[in-house]
């Protein structure tokens, strides 16, 4: 028995030792990534794939797009903190704010098992105590253990603008209809909390926040837009909001129901470049005005 226990301890000691070296390496390299933004860029774009495939920072020269697919406000807050702690000239934050972000199940972005790989595992080196508390230990360990395989720990891997090709609206709708709904309920408390944290962080650094909702295909049909506008008018109506949710955008510019393709991204990026961001925001005010008093915006 003694021999057995010693060998087991030795084996696990070696295994954990080797593994820890890789984890420490990952944490070290992640923390070494420079989030410095070039001085000629004064607009930072944050959000998920909707922003990533909408704003082209090669067309709009003074913007930097740090959006990344599948990322909620939690990772975006962590990225913003890093950017603001590094040399930068950012004075405006263009923040993606869409019905997906206020959905009653929006926290799925942070907590569903699918995100273990690309969100939790990637961002835990930036976590503070508060973020650690959000995740259960086994779930957190999965993220940590899997993180050692990340080979790309560059600044670009945290987000960049991109382009989608083609039009797949019909296929996506067909797939969506057949999809078995996920029964797990995650709520939206965490997402909205981190949205507020982004807003306060920007206020502390005198950065103007502009909320932006890119065009969507029949948003009313696929998303809870009334809840989205309720939340906006109740909580964020003091913030400029560039709302293209219900703009009648040509299908040829859509990659699917909530992403623009290369034509749509170019069209919007060129428009922003030509008329300037402030005029662009004025051109697309919130499409629904506040007419009700709202009882409660968040749900858990």
């Amino acid at each position: 028995m003694k021999k057995f226990l010693i060998r087991i301890l030795l084996f696990w000691g070696i295994f954990i030792g080797i593994y820890s070296i890789f984890i420490i390496r990952f944490i070290y390299l992640s923390n070494k990534v420079s989030f410095e933004i070039e001085p000629n860029k004064n607009i930072l774009v944050l959000g998920d794939s909707q922003g990533q495939f909408c704003i082209s920072d090669t067309i709009i020269g003074n913007t930097y797009n740090l959006c990344r697919w599948g990322e909620g406000y939690l990772p975006n807050y962590l990225k913003l903190k890093r950017v603001l702690n590094s040399p930068n000239q950012i004075d405006t934050l263009l923040l993606i704010f869409t019905p997906l972000k206020t959905d009653k199940n929006a926290d799925k972005t942070d907590f569903s098992p699918e995100t273990v790989n690309h969100t939790l595992g990637k961002y835990y080196p930036f976590f503070s105590k508060e973020e650690f508390k959000l995740f259960s230990f086994p779930y957190f360990m999965q993220g940590v253990l899997r993180s050692v395989t990340y080979t790309d720990i560059s600044f670009q891997s945290f987000g960049s603008s991109g382009m989608l090709y083609g039009n797949h609206i019909e296929t996506v709708i067909e797939k969506q209809n057949k999809k078995t709904p996920d029964k797990t309920f995650y709520g939206n408390k965490v997402e909205l909390k981190y949205l507020n944290k982004i807003l306060s962080l920007c206020a502390d650094h005198n950065i103007q926040v502009i909320l932006f909702s890119p065009p969507m295909y029949q948003a009313d049909k696929f998303y809870d837009t009334s809840n989205f506008y309720k939340i906006y008018h109740k909580e964020y109506s003091h913030i400029p909001f560039c709302d293209m949710t219900e703009i009648n955008f040509p299908d040829s510019c859509m990659a699917d129901i909530n992403h623009l393709n290369i034509h749509g991204a170019r069209r919007i990026s060129h428009e922003i470049k030509e008329i300037g961001l402030q005029n662009f925001v004025r051109k697309y005010p919130p499409s629904r005005q506040s007419i009700f008093t709202f009882p409660s915006a968040t749900s858990q």
């Binding site: 028995m1 021999k3 057995f4 060998r7 087991i8 098992p113 230990f137 086994p138 899997r146």
Partner: protein, 479 residues
């Protein structure tokens, strides 16, 4: 509690240390096994503990009364029958009530009679078929005088609820497992290390092979009308490995865990996908259930000794019952009938025991004939799994029809992690097919060096961590 969960990762070492260091006497060890087994089982739903406790108590006293009235055949037969009826009744209510109700309603409807029975919203207790069959075998063996009833109620509780094999087998016979609770157990280093290897291999099969295959399979079966022939074929192929990885993986973990505690459980799988005909497949697949049906149904019905027609009848009965054991759905019964149909020609031609040895024994590769036999048997099994996996029989036929009708010679998009897992599984198990499990190491070749062995374990653990699919329940829990 799942074997592939974080809770079990804490549970197993804790129980192991307490078992060997704190509860040293036999009585205390048995008592401890009962307590931890009930915790393990109650983790799902504590209410089902009442059910398992009832089954255990009823079977225990049935055994004692059969012994008491051993001279009164009629009475002992009634006691045995009542135990069988009560156990099957519980199983029937919890597992089959709604199935019978729906089918009777349909039958009466055909004659214009409307039945309006109550539909019960019953939760299926995890592993009910496994422990019920274990309890049945105890009572029947006492009645047949193959076993003396135990007077040690703690040992009997431990036998029925022994946590490694409680929810998905192997279905142990009292003649094998119960006596192990009477003898004082000594820690055996070699057995414990081999047990750990078997657990590791079981986890690999479950988490890398089965869970990754499940991602592909669920997508294909949920949307089979939109898939082309090759995708449907790969869906069925991946399910073939999913169910094997899932179930044999569980058995490996169960047997390995039991070895850590000084117990030997029966083998449940013997590399079934390397079989050369269906009869050999059934000697290698879910051995504990197959032999249970052979001993308690097939042989009492006369087996193959009472003429051809009785052999045919008995074969069909055990295959249909075996299918029905898996669940209350016509798909399982059809799957049983399908295998019976494949098995019968072998039985009638007397070739059902042709391949008793290991394929290509002592060789690296099989002969061309053996390869063809294995591929053919494998494909027949794959078709069977389509029926097994489909939601209903109609869907199964449509699936097969679509697969053939939309066939094209093109490789579909496949799940690469699942494919990698399957390739590793097949390679390892092929070269280990003469051993008890995929990771049994006998100390020959490079593996005699500890460094190499440990490197191998580390590679497997890393594969489990990095390419495992989403955590899912073991398929056989529902049976």
């Amino acid at each position: 509690m799942l074997f592939n969960s974080f809770e079990f990762l804490i549970f197993l070492p804790t129980v192991f240390l307490l078992y060997w260091f704190v509860f040293k006497s036999l009585k205390w060890q048995n008592f401890f096994i009962v307590v931890v087994s009930y915790i393990f089982y109650g983790w799902w739903d504590w209410r089902f503990l009442i059910l398992i406790a009832f089954t255990t108590i009823y079977s225990f006293f049935s055994g004692l009364y059969i012994e008491k009235y051993t001279d009164n055949k009629k009475r002992s037969r009634w006691i045995c029958a009542s135990s069988i009826i009560i156990n099957l009744l519980i199983l029937g209510i919890f597992k089959y009530y709604n199935f019978f109700k729906e089918n009777l309603e349909l039958l009466f409807q055909a004659f214009g009679i409307q039945l309006d029975w109550v539909t019960l919203d019953i939760l299926l207790p995890v592993g009910i078929s496994f422990y019920t069959f274990q309890a049945l075998s105890y009572t029947i063996d006492i009645y047949r005088k193959k076993l003396d009833p135990t007077h040690d109620i703690v040992a009997f509780f431990a036998f029925i609820s022994f946590f490694p094999q409680l929810v998905a087998g192997p279905i142990e016979r009292a003649t094998n497992l119960l006596p192990q609770f009477y003898k004082s157990r000594q820690f055996d280093y070699t057995k414990a290390v081999d047990g750990l290897r078997q657990i590791l291999w079981g986890l690999f099969k479950k988490m890398v092979v089965a869970d990754n295959c499940a991602l592909y399979v669920n997508r294909v079966f949920a949307d089979y009308t939109a898939c082309d022939g090759p995708t449907l074929f790969f869906g069925a192929l991946f399910f073939t490995f999913q169910i094997y990885g899932d179930f044999s993986g569980y058995s490996d973990i169960a047997i390995g865990t039991a070895r850590l505690f000084g117990f030997s459980l029966m083998r449940n799988f013997n590399f079934p996908y390397f079989s050369r005909d269906i009869a050999e497949f059934w000697r290698r697949w879910h051995i504990s259930l197959t032999t249970w049906f052979r001993d308690y149904i097939y042989i009492p019905l006369g087996g193959s000794r009472e003429g051809k027609w009785k052999s045919v009848r008995n074969t069909f009965i055990i295959f249909l019952v075996s299918g029905f054991w898996h669940g209350a759905n016509w798909t399982f019964i059809t799957w049983g009938a399908y295998h019976a149909t494949l098995f019968l020609p072998l039985l009638l031609s007397g070739e059902n025991r042709k391949y008793l040895g290991i394929v290509a024994e002592g060789k690296y590769f099989p002969s061309l004939k053996e390869s063809c036999q294995m591929i053919l048997t494998f494909l027949l099994v794959v078709f069977g799994w389509i029926i097994f996996r489909a939601d209903n029989v109609g869907d199964a036929w449509h699936y097969i029809y679509n697969m053939i009708a939309t066939w094209q010679w093109a490789l579909p998009e496949i799940h690469k992690k699942a494919a990698l897992g399957i390739v590793i599984l097949l390679c390892v198990e092929w070269f280990q097919r003469e051993k008890q499990h995929g990771l049994q190491i006998t100390g020959n070749g490079l593996l005699r060096f500890r460094l190499i062995r440990w490197a191998l374990y580390i590679i497997l653990i890393c594969l489990i961590i990095h390419i495992s699919g989403m955590q899912a329940d073991f398929i056989y829990f529902q049976f």
